[in-house]
Symmetry: C2
Subunit: 156 residues, 2 copies
């Protein structure tokens, strides 16, 4: 009998992969990075408690919001280790993300505006146009600063 039919059994890596859409190789990678943990069967196979699905969902959400795995790990480390996290536990983690989402939406709206006002228009204001969010960009580590310097576009 397919163990996936038994809602009380822990999940194998391929079952978890099927349920989350995340490849088994990625799940193992996440475990190596400390984002997931699994019990082991007698044969050394991973056995995931069902609560791990929510954890993987969290990882996917966070990635879509642009967080790195290191950041996601730091967030997940805030969860209680001694019990299954409650809805409140999860909500505390995602509390600050609403602001993050709002910022990203705002940036997209600036981008949309920039498409017409600065890229699309025939003016030469690009030299002195600020469309991309400097704060957003300054927060980026590593390669490619990419902030647009100067004063607002005269077209605005």
């Amino acid at each position: 009998m397919d163990p996936a039919f038994d809602a009380l059994q822990p999940l194998t890596v391929s079952e978890l992969a099927r349920r989350t859409g995340v490849a088994p190789s990625a799940l193992r990678f996440y475990e190596a990075q400390g984002l997931l943990h699994a019990e082991r069967s007698a044969a050394g196979h991973r056995r995931y408690p069902r609560a791990v699905i929510r954890r993987v969902a969290f990882i996917i959400f966070a990635q879509r919001l642009g967080l790195s795995l290191a950041e996601i790990r730091a967030a997940l480390d805030q969860l209680p280790r001694d019990r299954v996290p409650t809805g409140d536990d999860w909500q505390r983690l995602t509390h600050t993300w609403h602001a993050r989402i709002a910022e990203r939406i705002a940036e997209l709206e600036r981008l949309r505006r920039g498409l017409t006002d600065c890229i699309g228009c025939g003016c030469l204001s690009l030299d002195s146009c600020r469309i991309l969010n400097p704060f957003d960009q300054a927060a980026r580590h590593g390669p490619g600063p990419r902030y647009w310097l100067g004063d607002p576009c005269p077209a605005q």
Copy 2:
């Protein structure tokens, strides 16, 4: 005299870097990838026509929208080679991006909703919840499919 003061002179790589916020190494990399082209001075130094600023702006915008350099190159290849692109030329390129931005904003709003409805809530609906956009995800090449399968969350 600083040649940057002369609005009619072509730009050196460091001037272009300063005006766009893109590192010289990145500008050279873009040239190697076929996204930019430059005339050369007698000494073999790059001389960018001023119109290249708009081109770099386009690259930055496109990157923030999640396009790869290969995709951006394909878009830029649509521009006329025999003359400086007009506003209309640029707008034709960015035409489809408005839809792209709208989709991404919609995804962020689903994500925001999912934070409360599915991650944060105490229900067990995650097993059968679809928050992340399957179409978006299916469009992703390479690693990490990450689509959420199944029926909509009962909480919705």
